[in-house]
């Protein structure tokens, strides 16, 4: 019996639930780097740890019999694929929150019915693009774009989006981000899900009975984002002449803080832990937002930012999908360097792309390519003529997919140590990626912004050198 378990926000409560249910999973905790915890009690149980939003997908495609995740990700999947083989088996009593459609308080609207009258064109930003589209269609928004993001959706309105679809503990929690709820789309909680065919064919009664009757004490209510502190997130009045700079959160944040300090640029509120997603920067004429580096190329292409600090990997992923995009790299910052590599399990006798192609043909295998870099992975498979391949988008922890749930991985690595630890083999080196500054080609023709952009670029170039 295969069980898909969540990383991240639900891990602690889920571990407590499984402990209380008597499963006693070793190495399923926040510190462990193992993706394959073991149960002493249920020896036939094969648990694997995924990013939460991967859980319902893995269960729906039949790779796992059972899974635990938020109802929000289940609904996100089913709103686009209603006939998916995914059955929700009930609430587990923790991880409660809601999904809300919200707008900036400055928009002056309080319901979705007012949206079409207020905006000619509506941009809705969300980590839940399927649900966002569903909501837009149900409410008959006339002209809308859904912009999928990896995170930090709440920081986009009003400058970069009219609406967001976000998860929050309550409607009140939105106010501190300068947002007003227009509609509650879903009351979300953690649920147990099962594959329809597994339910029909396999006896999972023992485990289901234990999970159904076990409850755990819940932790504090969930916050909208990891941003803490008392700083109000309300947007300031937009200054049309200001150069808009996007800085990264996540892994690159630490490096970027160090780089800015080295450049002598004061941006205290950006230090870890992040206190606000709109930190003030000690460079005149520049306003800053902190968003996910994955989202930056698209945001710069759309003219929402003039400059952004992201990775070469995410720039290429964007340009492979949108070859005529107006985004270009201005400065290589030289930190956060990784190699983007193609990886297989050591279990398969393949050492390069040609051997993989031959292996797939001989074994009639439809190669499953897992990656966070969907477009880089797609291009790699295309360029190497992997017949009948499928790209499986992941949201991190991709190395856990090999060998059971994918055959090839396109992944970044600093030293290769993690890959070796998981018994994986690099078969191709695609390119080297470092942090870089990207810009919109059009920003350099705006005479009001050019002096500020040139000054910022100059400082960064000097520091990088």
């Amino acid at each position: 019996m295969k069980l898909a378990l969540p990383k991240g926000r639900l891990l602690k409560d889920t571990a407590a639930l499984l402990e209380a249910a008597g499963l006693g999973l070793a190495e399923y905790d926040e510190k462990s780097r193992s993706y394959r915890p073991q149960s002493d009690e249920f020896t036939s149980l094969s648990p694997k740890v995924f990013q939460e939003k991967d859980v319902p997908i893995q269960v729906a495609v039949g790779n796992y019999d059972l899974g635990i995740c938020g109802l929000d990700w289940v609904t996100e999947l089913l709103s686009k694929y209603p006939s998916a083989d995914l059955v929700e088996l009930g609430e587990l009593g923790y991880g409660k929150g809601g999904l809300y459609v919200a707008a900036s308080v400055r928009a002056g609207i309080s319901s979705l019915d007012e949206v079409d009258g207020r905006f000619e064109r509506v941009r809705m930003v969300s980590e839940y693009p399927n649900l966002a589209e569903f909501v837009a269609l149900q409410h008959r928004l006339r002209r809308f774009s859904v912009l999928p993001v990896w995170g930090a959706a709440e920081v986009y309105p009003p400058e970069c989006a009219e609406l967001v679809l976000v998860r929050a503990a309550s409607a009140n929690g939105l106010a501190r981000h300068g947002l007003v709820p227009l509609a509650k789309v879903l009351a979300s909680t953690t649920v147990l899900v099962a594959n329809r065919n597994s339910l029909a064919e396999a006896d999972m009664g023992g485990l289901l009975a234990r999970l159904r009757t076990t409850r755990v004490r819940t932790r504090q209510s969930e916050r909208l984002s990891p941003v803490g502190g008392a700083t109000s997130e309300s947007p300031e009045e937009h200054n049309g002449n200001a150069v808009r700079l996007a800085l990264p959160d996540g892994h690159q944040q630490r490096h970027t803080v160090r780089f800015l300090a080295k450049a002598g640029i004061d941006i205290g509120e950006y230090d870890e832990p992040l206190k606000t997603r709109r930190p003030r920067i000690g460079l005149d004429g520049i306003s800053v937002k902190v968003i996910r580096p994955q989202d930056m190329p698209a945001q710069v292409a759309n003219g929402n930012f003039d400059l952004a600090v992201t990775g070469e990997d995410w720039l290429r992923d964007h340009l492979y999908r949108f070859p005529s995009s107006p985004v270009e790299r201005m400065v290589n910052l030289g930190f956060g360097t990784v190699r983007i590599v193609a990886v297989v399990s050591e279990r398969i006798p393949v050492h390069d792309a040609a051997e993989l192609r031959g292996y797939a043909l001989r074994s009639l295998l439809q190669i499953r390519v897992a990656s966070e870099y969907v477009n880089i992975a797609d291009k790699y498979a295309r360029d190497n003529h992997l017949a009948g391949y499928r790209v499986i988008p992941t949201w991190g922890a991709s190395e856990a997919f090999l060998p059971e749930d994918a055959d090839l991985l396109i992944e970044n690595t600093e030293t290769g140590a993690t890959l070796r630890k998981h018994k994986l083999r690099i078969i191709d080196d695609l390119f080297e990626s470092s942090a870089c500054v990207i810009t919109h080609k059009g920003a350099l023709s705006d005479s009001r912004k050019v002096p500020t952009i040139e000054r910022a670029i100059e400082v960064m170039k000097r520091t990088a050198a």
């Binding site: 006939s83 569903f134 006339r142 002209r143 292409a301 949108f322």
Partner: protein
């Protein structure tokens, strides 16, 4: 690895294409003779063309094939055309002089996702749109045009089912439903679920009586509409304009000898209809449909212009139409021994016969997949012989002209 076509897609083989082209040609010919001009819109359109409120229902929009184009970084999606009328209206607004009456027709494929993959996701339709007239005679012209096409295709007997979008909408608002509920019931009705309206109760006895007749009795004359008028009592003034419009169309169709049925629950498919709606049925099967859509052009951003149109469903017609083109003008030509001179002669004779309107296939020494009335053999020295496969008789011929005389003479 074996390759297959995508789920829900259909290959059209040579025999299918013969029927497809026959339907297309009959439709084109009839439209051209009625003064309609042929257009072709692109397969890709922007999604927002279809999301404009009141053009397609959310259920239909949830099944369109939409995706980001290669320059779609703004998140603006494009769709594989899910409908023929809305792109025609877009083309009309973008490129056509909007004064007077415009008649347009098209043969186009539309794409709608269907979950099981057992039904078609790509469908072909022959559509005609009459833009700029609000007369009932415009609706009747379209019904007669569709009837003519179906008659020429030998499909029948035809029953035209009539309904009225405006009448249904007035009814929903009279029933006192909240706007959201109205939209929900209307969506259900347009998805073909008549119970949605039948289940709605009303305390107004006049309305209840009229509703009972409209939902449960099918009419076949203007008398039926007179009965509905009488039953509506005090509520009549609110329905007067819609009933008058439908009555005019019914009277005209009756005068033209058209067989029709007034069925309020037949208006299936599209939300944009505002007036008379018609379905074309043969042996209980829907082979086409259409109606008046006076609000669509303003919804898509154009001026207030009345319009109506219809589409015939080619995939259904392909199942019903029996058409064998015959092989009287079909020739198989063979160069025996395969010498250069004989092959050259065979090619030259084939060109002459094609020039004269014959379909000529070169024999490659293997069985042909087509049937031919005539076979021509080229022997050494360029001697020709002609065999009529219908009679088995073989005659000698000296040149292409001689062959043509023999073939024409035999017919």
């Amino acid at each position: 690895m074996r390759v297959h076509k995508c789920r829900g897609m259909v290959d059209l083989l040579p025999d299918d294409m013969v029927r497809f082209r026959h339907i297309e040609e009959v439709f084109r010919d009839s439209c051209l003779k009625h003064g309609y001009g042929e257009i072709r819109t692109p397969t890709l359109e922007y999604l927002h063309l279809f999301t404009a409120s009141g053009t397609l229902t959310p259920a239909m929009l949830g099944r369109v094939y939409s995706f980001l184009d290669w320059d779609g970084w703004s998140g603006e999606r494009v769709v594989l055309r899910p409908d023929g009328t809305i792109p025609t209206v877009r083309l009309f607004l973008e490129s056509v002089n909007q004064e007077g009456t415009t008649r347009l027709f098209y043969v186009a494929n539309t794409f709608t996702f269907e979950e099981t993959g057992t039904e078609r996701r790509e469908r072909w339709q022959c559509g005609a749109e009459l833009i700029g007239s609000n007369l009932a005679s415009a609706d009747v012209e379209l019904v007669l045009l569709a009837s003519e096409v179906l008659s020429r295709l030998g499909v029948g007997p035809l029953v035209v089912r009539l309904s009225h979008g405006g009448l249904i909408k007035t009814l929903l608002s009279e029933l006192g439903l909240e706007a959201e509920k109205q939209a929900e019931v209307f969506d259900h009705l347009l998805e073909g679920d008549a119970r949605a309206l039948g289940d709605v109760g009303t305390e107004d006895p006049n309305l209840a009586r009229a509703l009972r007749v409209l939902m449960h009795v099918k009419g076949n004359s203007s008398g039926y509409l007179e009965n509905v008028r009488a039953l509506l009592g005090d509520a009549l003034p609110r329905f007067q304009a819609d009933l008058d419009e439908l009555t005019k169309a019914v009277e005209l169709l009756a005068a033209m000898g058209c067989t029709f049925e007034i069925d309020m629950t037949s208006g299936r498919g599209f939300e944009y209809y505002t007036g008379a709606m018609f379905q074309f049925c043969v042996s209980g099967e829907r082979v086409g449909g259409g109606g008046r859509y006076d609000d669509l052009i303003p919804l898509v951003g154009g001026p207030s212009l009345p319009a109506s149109g219809f589409a015939l469903y080619m995939d259904t017609l392909m199942e019903l139409v029996e058409f064998e083109p015959g092989n009287d003008r079909s020739v198989l030509i063979a160069a025996h021994r395969g010498g250069t001179d004989e092959v050259q002669t065979a090619f030259e004779v084939a060109a002459d016969l094609r020039e004269a309107g014959y379909a000529v296939e070169m024999d490659m020494g293997q069985p042909s997949t087509s049937s031919h009335r005539w076979s021509v053999s080229v022997s050494k020295g360029g001697a020709l012989s002609l065999t009529d496969q219908a009679t088995g008789k073989t005659r000698k011929a000296s040149a292409s002209a001689n062959l043509l005389d023999l073939m024409e003479g035999a017919k």
